[in-house]
């Protein structure tokens, strides 16, 4: 059974803090999303935390829809969402839509960007984009074992300093570093760790245009959390965001999406087991 209590880290003194909850996600307290490039080990992290069996494998594109599962950490129940891998949030191929829409409209309490330690440059591109959308970001630097094998040393402290969000080294396969990751996620959500994500500057003209638009968006939708990002997307001519603004969907971001979430998780719970 999947809801059996197993430890993610047998050697940790506090290993009883964590429990895999499988598909028991009916009443969760927090939502955490797993984003990242294809093949960085998102599904492996997901499986390790929830005890579920998402398809993993070393080829890009095997996770095509989002999967949901649960885990409990220090008596808080989390719903974990495994998203399809994407190189960027700018384009609009199908799987990227799924990921992007969730990070933006699903309003997770925290987004873990799973990165490949052996190809950080490529992975940080996406991390920077996620950080444009939300403050609540934790970078999981996965595949540390592969990095070691290739003689690479990754200084996660320098990474965290530069990015302005926590960066945790992990090996998803052996659950190394998983406790720290969960602790950090909890701290970011509860506000014990304050993040100040690096945001791109761009030239003056661009800055001015973004500011003008963002002000208007905030004016129309006062409580909106990421007007700046929406403004950038509008300038880029993003069809999905245009529609969301026109239809007022952005206004419903908070309430509406959470209803849909709850419904979706129930469906998954019914249909998820094959």
């Amino acid at each position: 059974m999947t809801n059996m209590i197993t430890s993610a880290c047998d050697t940790c003194p506090a290993h009883t803090q964590m429990a895999q909850m499988g598909l028991k996600i009916d009443n969760f307290d927090r939502v955490v999303a797993l984003a990242g490039n294809p093949n960085t080990g998102k599904s492996t992290v997901f499986n390790a935390l929830t005890g579920l069996k998402q398809h993993t494998g070393n080829w890009p594109g095997k996770t095509v829809t989002r999967a949901e599962g649960g885990y409990e950490f220090q008596s808080v129940k989390y719903k974990l969402v495994d998203l399809p891998g994407t190189y960027s949030l700018l384009s609009a191929s199908q799987d990227e839509e799924v990921a992007r829409n969730f990070i933006l409209f699903g309003q997770p309490d925290c987004t873990i960007v799973v990165t490949d330690a052996t190809a950080l440059e490529r992975n940080l591109n996406l991390a920077l984009q996620v950080m444009e959308i939300t403050d609540k970001v934790v970078i999981a630097v996965n595949l540390m074992d592969e990095a070691r094998r290739k003689g690479l040393e990754v200084d996660t402290r320098s990474l965290a300093r530069d990015l302005g969000v926590p960066a945790i080294p992990i090996v998803a396969r052996t659950s190394e570093g998983m406790q720290t990751l969960l602790q950090t996620v909890a701290d970011v959500i509860e506000g014990n760790i304050l993040t100040s994500p690096l945001r791109m500057e761009g030239n003056d003209q661009y800055q001015a245009a973004v500011r003008t638009l963002a002000a208007q968006i905030e004016h129309l939708y006062p409580a909106i959390p990421n007007a700046r990002w929406l403004a950038i997307r509008l300038l880029d001519g993003d069809d999905r965001v245009q529609q969301a603004i026109l239809s007022g969907e952005v206004a419903e971001l908070v309430s509406g999406q959470q209803r849909a979430e709850a419904q979706f998780s129930k469906q998954m719970a019914v249909a998820g087991r094959q």
Partner: protein, 466 residues
Amino acid sequence: MTIPSITAQDILDQAESLRPQLKEGFRDEIVKSLYSEAARISGRAVHQVGNTKWDFDQKIDRLVTSPWTGLPIMLLLLAGVFWVTIVFANIPSQMIATALFWIEDQAANLFTSIGAPWWLTGFIWHGVYRGLAWVIAVMLPPMAIFFPIFTILEDLGYLPRVAFNLDWLFKRAGAHGKQALSMAMGFGCNAAGVISTRVIDSPRERLIAILTNNFVPCNGRFPTLIMLATVFVAASFSPTVSSFIAAGAVLAVVLIGVFFTLLMSWILSRTVLKGEASAFTLELPPYRKPNFSRILYTSLIDRTIFVLWRAIKTAAPAGALIWILANININGVSLAREIANFLNPFGLLLGLDGVIMLAYIIAIPANEIVVPTMMMVYSGVGMMTEITGFGEIRALLIDGNGWTMLTAINLMLFSLLHNPCGTTIWTIYKETKSTKWTVLSVVITLGTAFLVTFITASIARLLGWV
């Protein structure tokens, strides 16, 4: 102060008017600055502290994709996987068969001795149970060997290299190179293969991949191929080479499947799915050390047991059905025989026979039970033909039922090409949300199967081989 009210449309118009003011290539600029920032940060955080196995991976990659060695290595690997499967599955299969049929005898005897009515004994033990026994004996060992090997290749990162090696062929056929990935998944299960076509962005190329996925023999059909290759094609060779011959035969069948995949893709992309090639980019991820315990678990529990369980669920009712058909007699002839006789002329036309056709009809829900079904009809349910190994199968088929080499070869071809199983058809429907494409997927496969077997049978007869 009154603030002029803004509508959503105003905001969009504003964006529209601001856009041309920005430098052309706004997007290019964003991405460029994102990447240069990423490069700067990662440059500060990552240091090379020693040049270990990094080069080794590259050397391997050069070998498996090189113009000279890439394709041969791929074929050898495939043949190797089949060979290992055949060699290591053979003995366990025979042992399981012996054991399970021994149990059948004992149980049936027990039932008879405690005075159970003949039809109860027959129905339970020679019907339902025998169906199950056949499925487990024929399927379990090859799957338990094939799936782990396959999962290792998947985890290692070899599959994208296959797509890379073969893309040119798919391009020529008007399809997408990632179709090779979905075909690879099809070896496991065609339904999974159909789902995995989602990695292809273009709807047109994705449909081609969906409609042709069935030309890859799935694990349900592999045992059929392996059994036929072992029992017929390879049997006349000396024991030392026979396993190689069998693996070669299976490989040949798979290559024929690839050929038909390409051919059908070519035809589709020039007829109903006419259109343009989409942009092709394929990432070749770095090799990763497979995690053996995890792989054993995934492939044995998730895949093998999953597929076997599905087979068992259809095999039990199929076994029951066959037993009933075999035991309802009309004018002294069993209903099963009656139907088989009715189908016989058509079967013969395709180089097969009526029993095989009947087995295929019964096995539409799950292809994997074709051989078991066939064996049950042939062996005449109710009478106690002792089948304890593959040797007896050969005798039963050739001496008892007039099989020839043509029958075996055409059955292999037919099982390779015929329509998808029920689950796959249902999956195709769910993925395409269209009756039209679903029907087409059945029509083109079944049509190909009929046509090809008819042609081989006709040629064989014309040349007097049979």
